[in-house]
């Protein structure tokens, strides 16, 4: 059988991704995680010396802490299975990627295992974040220098 013909058959028989269902679940889970984040931010604004803007730093740290607990107790993968991108796009998903890699590679020791593999999954996010930030900031700085745009 030809590859093309088989690809056609495979596509026909394999179950379709339930996109609408997945999207709704992602919306609810992602929204809920952000909502929890908002409550935590309010907590930091009300009881500590953080403004709306600066509160995002401790909020992110707290969310990653919660993500660590959920990952360690094996709950985050269940949330992810239900919520899909709703669980992996928030910063908790970033935390989950780091913490799960760290836990997984504990058996190889703390230096080679945990240290060497912690950013196995999350590293690319940092790389592309930094690289695109560099390019964007560079372009904007140059444009400002030439007076095309202002800060």
């Amino acid at each position: 059988m030809e590859q093309e013909k088989y690809a056609h058959l495979e596509k026909e028989l394999s179950p379709k991704t339930p996109i609408l269902k997945n999207v709704i679940k992602a919306f609810l889970v992602g929204g809920l995680i952000c909502l929890i984040g908002q409550f935590i931010a309010l907590f930091y604004i009300t009881y500590f010396d953080f403004t709306e803007r600066t509160a995002s730093n401790p909020t992110v740290a707290t969310m990653i802490f919660i993500s660590m607990l959920l990952t360690g107790f094996g709950l985050y993968k269940k949330i992810s299975q239900f919520g899909g991108a709703g669980a992996s796009v928030p910063i908790t998903g970033f935390g989950n990627a780091v913490v799960s890699s760290a836990i997984e590679h504990k058996s190889e020791g703390y230096v080679l295992g945990v240290g060497g593999n912690m950013f196995k999954l999350a590293g690319s996010v940092i790389l592309f974040g930094v690289f695109s930030a560099f390019i964007v900031a560079l372009i904007k700085t140059i444009l400002v220098k030439f007076g095309v745009v202002s800060w």
Binding site: C34, A61, G74, A85, A133, A137
Partner: protein, 120 residues
């Protein structure tokens, strides 16, 4: 005051919906999806659009990974404003350090405390 919760829920949820569509429709792997979103956040900040979104949606815009790209760009731009081109490189982690440092610290603590389980 209530409205910030609603906007954070909806905006945060919508950013996740974009992620889900990238995964399900564009068939990207989770890693590619997250990288795309980070780049998108960074570009939005280049146009000065992400900060207003944060003002509008609070945690709905700061919790999704897009804010990571935004924060990196924001730090770089703020430093570039002060010190010129060299600031692009030096200012990058000025704002974002908390996410990465928290991830490293809690990653290590997690590794100390837990072992992985192969259950469903």
């Amino acid at each position: 005051m209530i409205s910030i919760y609603i906007t954070s829920f909806i905006v945060g949820g919508l950013i996740c919906v974009i992620g889900q569509l990238l995964m399900d429709v564009a068939k990207l792997t989770p890693a590619h999806t997250l990288c795309s979103l980070v780049v998108a956040g960074s570009i939005l900040d280049g146009f000065g659009l992400y900060e207003p979104l944060i003002d509008f949606a609070g945690a709905g815009a700061t919790i999704p990974i897009t804010s990571f790209g935004n924060a990196l760009t924001h730090g770089a731009l703020a430093e570039a404003e002060k010190h010129g081109l060299i600031g692009v490189v030096t200012g990058m982690f000025e704002v974002t350090s908390s996410g990465i440092s928290a991830a490293i610290i809690f990653g290590l603590i997690g590794a100390l405390l837990f072992t992985s389980k192969g259950n469903v």
